[in-house]
């Protein structure tokens, strides 16, 4: 997927930006719309080469944050630096090193795949002598060479996503932002896009993803930030998030519904007990001595038919942290 980098594609030198600086550095970022605080003193750092996921329910402020990173929205206060460039003062330089795949794909559906790529190449100043070769290479990578002259309006959702991804990579950006990259597309196309994203990391590119699919976040992201009401709730690797906020989940299936839920709740190390008829879901801080105690209490009332001990999934972590499911 590597595309030959050309300095000519970047109008102007990179100045004091260094490869060692973080890909994204957000400091005390705020954005208000009237009285509504969309982003509330957000501080966050994304390192180069990371696949970083931004999670949050609808209206949590992640799109506003992304818009401020890409310079589409002006922050009320605070700062955003991309590869060392202050977004406010060097918006053009930031856009040159940013490849964006918006949720809507922003493709010209009336034009062919080639014409879309060609227009993007002109907007980003890709040298004319390299343009044709780069477009061909990118269409090959996203497997759309045979449809290069077809109107984008005739493409499936997955093909549009692939084309949008190919277009975003055409100018060889250092940072790629993908907004809901697999929203509304089938499982097969989703897997293909995941593969492309993972290849980007292997090329040392930084990828910023917003997604509503926690499975996707878990499969792709090196680190995750959970945002709610414009505030950063947690940031860590998926594994650490589970360890820090989850513990273990014990699921029990009993012959009859039990009444001693309060007894289980009172045990030390129990975070949460949920009962649905004969099914109990118990979240703990560890598995140590708690499981035998739970089994003891439950078995006094009813026969245990099945027992499962597992790690919590991200949905449960997210629900616990934000009080809402991601797709609410």
């Amino acid at each position: 997927m590597k595309v030959a980098h050309s300095d000519e594609a970047v109008p102007g030198p990179l100045g004091n930006a260094s490869d060692k600086v973080p890909a994204i550095e957000i400091q005390d970022l705020c954005k208000t719309f009237g009285k509504f605080q969309a982003v509330d003193h957000l501080t966050l750092t994304v390192q180069q080469g990371e696949i970083f996921g931004l999670l949050g329910p609808n209206g949590s402020g992640k799109t506003t944050t992304i818009n401020m990173i890409s310079g589409l929205t002006v922050p009320t206060s605070g700062s955003v630096r991309v590869h060392g460039y202050d977004v406010r003062h060097s918006a053009r330089e930031v856009r040159q090193i940013l490849g964006a795949v918006p949720q809507e794909t922003a493709l010209y559906e009336e034009l062919s795949a080639w014409a879309n790529m060609d227009f993007h190449a002109d907007l980003f100043g890709i040298p004319p002598r390299e343009k044709k070769q780069r477009i061909n290479a990118m269409l090959e990578i996203v497997q759309l060479t045979d449809r290069k002259n077809s109107r984008v309006g005739t493409f499936s959702g997955g093909m549009k996503r692939r084309l949008a991804l190919g277009r975003a990579l055409l100018h060889d950006p250092k940072l790629i932002y993908l907004d809901e990259p697999t929203l509304g597309i089938d499982v097969q196309a989703r897997r293909a896009i995941w593969d492309y994203i993972l290849q980007l990391r292997s090329q040392g590119k930084t990828v910023l993803i917003t997604t509503n699919y926690l499975e996707e976040a878990q499969a792709l992201c090196d680190r995750l930030a959970i945002i709610d009401h414009g505030k950063l709730i947690a940031v860590d690797t998926p594994q650490h998030l589970k360890q820090s906020y989850g513990g273990s989940v014990v699921e029990l299936e009993t012959a009859d519904a039990i009444s001693e839920v309060a007894k289980i709740q009172a045990l030390e190390g129990i975070k949460e007990v949920k009962q649905e008829n004969t099914h109990l879901t118990i979240t703990t801080q560890g598995t140590g001595n708690i499981v035998p105690q739970i089994i003891n209490i439950v078995s006094q009332e009813s026969e245990i038919r099945a027992i499962t001990i597992r790690e919590p999934d991200l949905d449960e972590i997210f629900l616990r942290l934000t009080g809402t499911a991601l797709r609410d």
Binding site: P11, T73, V74, L107, H120, F124
Partner: protein
Amino acid sequence: MSRPGYHLRVIWACMKKDIQVSLTDRIFIILGVFLPVNFLILFSLFVISGGQAPTAVVMNDTGPYAQQFYHAMAGAHSFILQKATSSEARNLLQTGRIVAVVTIPADFETRIQHNQPVKVGVDINNLNMDFTNDIRRAVPLAITSFYAKAFPDVVTIAPHEIDQYTQDTDYIPYLTVSILVIALVVGGLLQSGTSAAREWENATMKELLLSPASRWAIVTGKMLGALVLSLISVVVVLAVLIFIIGVHPLHWGAMIGFTLLTLAIFIALGTLLGTFLKQRQAFTGLAIGIALPLFFVSGAFGPISFNVPILQVIAQLTPVYYAIVLQQYAFHGFILNTYGLLANTLILFGFAIGLIILSAFVLHRSTVAN
């Protein structure tokens, strides 16, 4: 690539892309090209059909005085005359195909010769007040004209006309030039406004706003794209004007210059409104809603100086007024106001520069969310 080279490339790419996209959108091409032509046909028909009253003349006397009276009526420029028998004329009047029947009595010649009073019958279908008044004014005018020619000694008052211009300008040539201006207004507004609104509607504005290209280069490219597309409708209207209606520009260079200047104004206004509204449907309604009142208030049907002062003030606040003044000059050689050619051109130029700067500024300030 150098910065100027890069900007030029962005301008060219935006222009090319907008033309390509618009050419796939047949409805807007039809709207942009044929709407101005429709205006031309509509207003021409309005003038042709509304100017003169279809009238039948029953010639019960065919002597030289009766013939002279008929010619006096023909010279009144108020009738579309046809000779008919009494029964034919009655039938035409009853079936609503003519406005009036003028009956020249059988003893017309004799009575005139003997200086006796003559009653010329006038039957009017007074369904339309406008036509009725035309007949009421034009029949006495024809009588006076008849006497002035047949008995010059009797009519001793004669007008002594001194014309300000060397030639008369007929209503149709005047109006069709104004219609060329509305073609520029509608064409410019629709092509640029729908192009800007389409970018927001389809979210492709993000592709533009997320690029490192200068907003000025993007706006310039988009405006040039709209200019090329608008010129299609202008060429069609001009072809109708020159080859069908027979109205030729007196000053070709001025006509082309004022055409481009007027287009620049309304392309900039369209870009501005399209960026604000962000929806093609809403924009199209607003564009037509703006174009028509501007057209009616700006002296399209006759010099605005003949109108009430408040209308004159309103007209002079709009660029359409100056565009009409300058295009009338380019086609007919006269200037409708006292400002002179240069001042009118500078005012129109001022509108163009102001609106281009404003629309570029609005796009520059446009973000996905503020």
